[in-house]
Each structure stands twice: as structure tokens, then as C-alpha cells.
């Protein structure tokens, strides 16, 4: 609370004080009151006026200064009403009441949205599980009838369904994953089998080295992540995918490398951003800019680091870093 600003705000009050004093003086002179008496009356008047002002200023100052200071310190400004003690004076009490009420209403509002969000997500999960039944049925029918033509399209449908599911999961604040020791080799083989038809159609050679390592992660999520990376490699003309893993002191790092068209240097910092399509997305293949975004979000939730390096026309390498922190092992 600045004194100068406060005085400026009170200027009308001072003008009224001055006018009142002028009127009193005129009145007193008209009745021929002695000059000394007028001086004394004026003195009493001004003393009272200044005293009121100083008292008013001081009691407000301590309250508002604390308030502003607290507001400055808070990173979640909406918590200010919790941090404020109710003052003695009326305006302050009103302010506190207003803050409390508006805060309460906002909390209810957020709660409502959160519930809606959770309900929506639960519905998505349910829907995904429902829609997987006919997909599974169709897949078996394709196999039983020996018709591989439809299987390819079904695989695409299944991939898109998974995208929705994991997007919903990555957006959610809840922990619906289980971190446990997972064999990298197993997950990679499962991912490869899932994509085998397409990999072979495009004649992509897979090689995996040093994947006999256990990492702490959620198997299903990791499988989705690797599936996304594999899809990207297929989309961007790779003919070789090499997956390796290395151990460092505090982490296991999985390198997923392909020899596809690579990522332009100027696009590289942005590839994990939502809806970023970049040059490749525009010129090469229809891209929604969601795949790697979901990957990075999932990695973030699982506590894995994810990074990319690439040389255009040579290779793209995505590295996922699994922490080896011993705390993880306590379940």
C-alpha cells in the first residue's frame, strides 16, 4: 500500500475538510468571534481530522500490505483467501467474505469439470473396450476365412483406437499404471509381432541387441510407446530399425533408431509438442502431430526421459531413459 496513492485516493475527503473549515471560519467571523478563539477552534478541527486520517491509514495499511505480500509469494494465487486473516475493519471483512465466496464457487465449478472429465475418460475407456470386441471378432473372421486383405485395415482401426485410449490416459491426473520390472526384450518382440505384417510388407529389417534388460515401467504403456515409434519409422520410409539398450550408473537407456528420412534440424526441438507436424508432416505423410506428443506425455507420467536426435536423410533416434533409482523397487 503506497502512501502517495492512498493520499491521492483520499483527496476529495481533504477538499471537504478544507471547505468545512472555510465555512466554519466564515461563520465564526460573521459572529465576530475573537481571532484567538477562531485559531483554537481551527486547531481542534484539524487535529481531529488528521488524527482520523492517520488512524484510518494505519489500520488498513497493515492488512493490505500483508495481503499483497502473500499474493506475491503464492504461486497459486487462488489460495489467497486461505492465507488472509480477517481484519478488524468493515471493508476488510467484506473483502474477505467476497474472496471466500468467489473461491468456493470456483472450487465447485472446477469440481464439476473434473467430474465431467473423469466421466468422459471413463466412458472413453469403456468404449474402447467395447469396440475392441467387434474388432477382435473381425480379426478372427479374417483369419478363419483366410482373408488377409481386411486384416490390414483392421490393424489400422486398432491402432487408432489405441491412440484415443492412450491420449485419454496421458491427459489424466490419476495413476492408472503399474510400475514393475519388465523385460525389454519381451515388450519389443510383442510390439514387433503386432506390426509384423506391415513391417514385412515394407521389407523393413529389425534388429534388436542387448535387450536382455529389466526396466521399471508399465508394460502396456511401453508397448504402446514402442508401437508409436515403429509406426513412425514405417511412415517415414525406414528400411532398417535397430533397437539397442545400454546401462549407465543410474539408468537404462533404450535407443530406437531407424534409417528413415530423418527430421529437419529446425523441427527437432518441437517434435514432442502437441499438434506439431513440421516439414515431414506436411510434405511426406499425413500427420496429426499427436503420436510423439502422446509418447512424451506417457513417458513424463511414467517418469522416463525421452529425447530425439536425427540427421536429415540419415537417421532418427529416439531414446527413452528408464531410471534405476532403488526407490522404484520398493513396491
Amino acid at each position: 500500500m503506497k502512501l502517495s496513492a492512498y493520499l491521492k485516493d483520499r483527496i476529495l475527503a481533504y477538499v471537504i475538510f478544507a471547505l468545512t473549515w472555510v465555512l466554519i471560519a466564515i461563520f465564526l467571523f460573521t459572529f465576530h468571534v475573537k481571532f484567538e478563539a477562531v485559531c483554537i477552534i481551527s486547531g481542534i478541527f484539524w487535529l481531529g481530522a488528521w488524527f482520523t486520517e492517520i488512524w484510518g491509514y494505519l489500520r488498513k495499511r497493515s492488512f493490505y500490505c500483508t495481503l499483497m505480500h502473500n499474493l506475491d509469494q503464492l504461486d497459486r494465487k487462488y489460495l489467497i483467501s486461505e492465507m488472509t486473516d480477517e481484519p478488524e475493519f468493515y471493508e476488510g471483512k467484506l473483502l474477505c467474505e467476497v474472496l471466500r465466496d468467489s473461491n468456493k464457487s470456483m472450487c465447485e465449478h472446477i469440481g464439476e469439470h473434473r467430474r465431467e472429465n473423469v466421466e468422459f475418460r471413463e466412458y472413453i475407456e469403456l468404449w474402447v473396450h467395447e469396440v475392441k470386441l467387434p474388432v477382435a471378432g473381425l480379426q478372427l473372421m479374417c483369419h478363419n476365412d483366410g482373408n488377409a486383405k481386411y486384416a490390414e485395415q483392421l490393424k489400422r482401426i486398432d491402432d487408432y483406437i489405441e491412440n484415443v485410449l492412450y491420449y485419454a490416459r496421458s491427459r489424466n491426473a490419476e495413476k492408472d499404471y503399474i510400475i514393475k520390472p519388465v523385460m525389454l526384450k519381451r515388450i519389443f518382440a510383442d510390439t514387433a509381432i503386432k506390426n509384423r505384417e506391415e513391417l514385412q510388407m515394407r521389407d523393413i529389417a529389425l534388429s534388436a541387441e542387448g535387450l536382455d534388460k529389466e526396466v521399471m515401467t508399465d508394460a502396456k504403456w511401453l508397448m504402446f510407446i514402442l508401437g508409436q515409434l515403429m509406426n513412425n519409422s514405417m511412415k517415414y520410409n525406414a528400411s532398417e530399425i535397430t533397437v539397442t539398450a545400454e546401462d549407465t550408473i543410474d539408468a537404462t537407456i533404450l535407443h530406437f533408431r531407424d534409417n528413415g528420412i530423418g527430421i529437419p534440424k529446425k523441427d527437432l526441438p518441437y517434435i514432442f509438442e502437441k499438434s506439431f507436424t513440421g516439414e515431414n508432416g506436411r510434405t511426406h505423410s499425413k500427420s496429426t502431430g499427436m503420436g510423439l506428443y502422446i509418447v512424451s506425455q506417457l513417458c513424463k507420467k511414467l517418469g522416463h526421459g525421452v529425447s530425439a536426435s536425427s540427421v536429415q536423410g540419415e537417421y532418427t533416434e529416439i531414446s527413452i531413459k528408464f531410471g534405476k533409482n532403488d526407490l522404484y523397487r520398493i513396491q
Partner: protein, 220 residues
């Protein structure tokens, strides 16, 4: 013939599963009445049970738990849920395997045969005519002569042997190889098969693996 009980409330899916299993030379039995699944389960004499997690009037996991208290018939859980939690729970309740829908039919069959083998405690030694097949040593032995097979050749021979007399597609062979972390391509598969043929013919079975054009291979 091994008998497999299918518990899946989605009728289209159930029928297709039954067809898949029948084509693979299993006897498929279906449960169609979902009122008292546990009773029907307990009365079954099946060798293996395929069970969906989401069932009307029952939860697959509790059902599995109740069933496990009285029976040790192997159970493979089928589910459309892609949640690690379900898998961990199912396995802890005594499932022998857990497969997520939509499943690769070949993988499903591979898992079924693996679980059946495990439960039947098949010895590591099988026979092909008068040839001893040792998966542990990875070799074929006939009259004292031993032919060592590579890992890939063994996987291929094993699958052909399991389905002797039937057509095994290249696709099935490929899936089995990939399932064992051998990411071979089409050419490599052909090379492996011709090497396997060579080794079999050295043992005195020159025409053991018959090619069916555009269909696959049959072990005779």
C-alpha cells in the same frame, strides 16, 4: 484331441474362436448360458479354459479365483482391457496366461499349445518317426547320428511337428519365430526351411517337408 472350453459372452467372437480352435484340431466347447458359470466350469472335463474377464452376472477375476480353489485346469484369460492391473491380478489369481483383444490368432494358438504342453508336462524329448527330437540339446538324433539344428530351425521344426500332417502357413512360422525374438524376413525363412530340409534328408527323410503352393508346409 484336446478339449478347450470357451467362456466368452460375445456370441460372434465365441463362434469365431470355436472355428479357429476347431480348424487347429482342438475340440471346442462353448458355454452359452451365463447364469451359473461357476457350476458349469466345475463340471467341465476340458483340458484348457479360455475365459473372458468381463462376463454378465460375474466378474472373470472372482470366477477364476473361485475356480482355482477347486481345480487346476489351465486357464488363459482373454480381455479387451488394456490395463496392466488386470493382468497382474489375473495372474495372481492363478491364470496361466493372459491375452489382450484383439489378439493375433496365431499367437493365441501358440500360447494355447504352450500352456497345454506345460500342463501335460511333456518331456523335453519328442519323437518324429524314429527320430528323437531334443529341444534341450536342440538336435535330432537317429540311430546314433546327431544333427544339430539352429535356434530358428528348431522353432520351425517344432511347430511343424506339433501340427504334423497339417498345413502350417509361412505366416504361422514367421509369427512363431518372431515370438522367439528372431525377427527374420521372408528370404531368411526360406533359407532356414531349405537348410532344415537338408538336415532332415541327411537323417534319411528327404521329402519330410512338403510345400503346398500358396498355402504353406506340411510335415510328413
Amino acid at each position: 484331441m484336446k478339449k478347450i472350453l470357451i467362456i466368452e459372452d460375445d456370441s460372434a467372437l465365441r463362434e469365431e474362436l470355436a472355428t479357429l480352435l476347431t480348424n487347429a484340431d482342438y475340440e471346442a466347447v462353448q458355454i452359452t448360458d451365463y447364469q451359473n458359470v461357476l457350476q458349469q466350469l466345475l463340471q467341465t472335463d476340458a483340458d484348457l479354459i479360455l475365459m473372458d474377464i468381463n462376463l454378465p452376472n460375474a466378474n472373470g477375476e472372482t470366477l477364476l479365483q473361485d475356480f482355482r480353489r477347486q481345480h487346476d485346469t489351465p486357464v488363459i484369460m482373454l480381455t479387451s482391457r488394456t490395463n496392466e492391473m488386470d493382468e497382474v491380478l489375473s495372474m495372481s489369481f492363478g491364470a496361466d496366461d493372459y491375452i489382450t483383444k484383439p489378439y493375433n490368432p496365431t499367437i493365441l494358438l501358440l500360447r494355447i499349445s504352450a500352456v497345454l504342453k506345460r500342463s501335460a508336462k511333456v518331456s523335453a524329448v519328442q519323437n518324429y518317426h524314429d527320430v528323437e527330437v531334443s529341444t534341450v540339446k536342440g538336435s535330432l538324433i537317429r540311430n546314433g547320428t546327431e544333427q544339430v539344428l539352429t535356434k530358428n530351425e528348431m522353432i520351425i521344426f517344432q511347430l511343424l511337428l506339433d501340427r504334423m500332417g497339417e498345413i502350417v502357413t509361412r505366416d504361422d512360422l514367421m509369427t512363431a519365430l518372431w515370438d522367439n525374438d528372431e525377427f527374420v524376413n521372408d528370404n531368411a525363412l526360406s533359407v532356414n526351411i531349405s537348410r532344415l530340409r537338408g538336415k532332415l534328408s541327411d537323417l534319411g527323410f528327404p521329402d519330410a517337408i512338403e510345400t503346398r503352393k500358396k498355402q504353406g508346409y506340411v510335415l510328413r
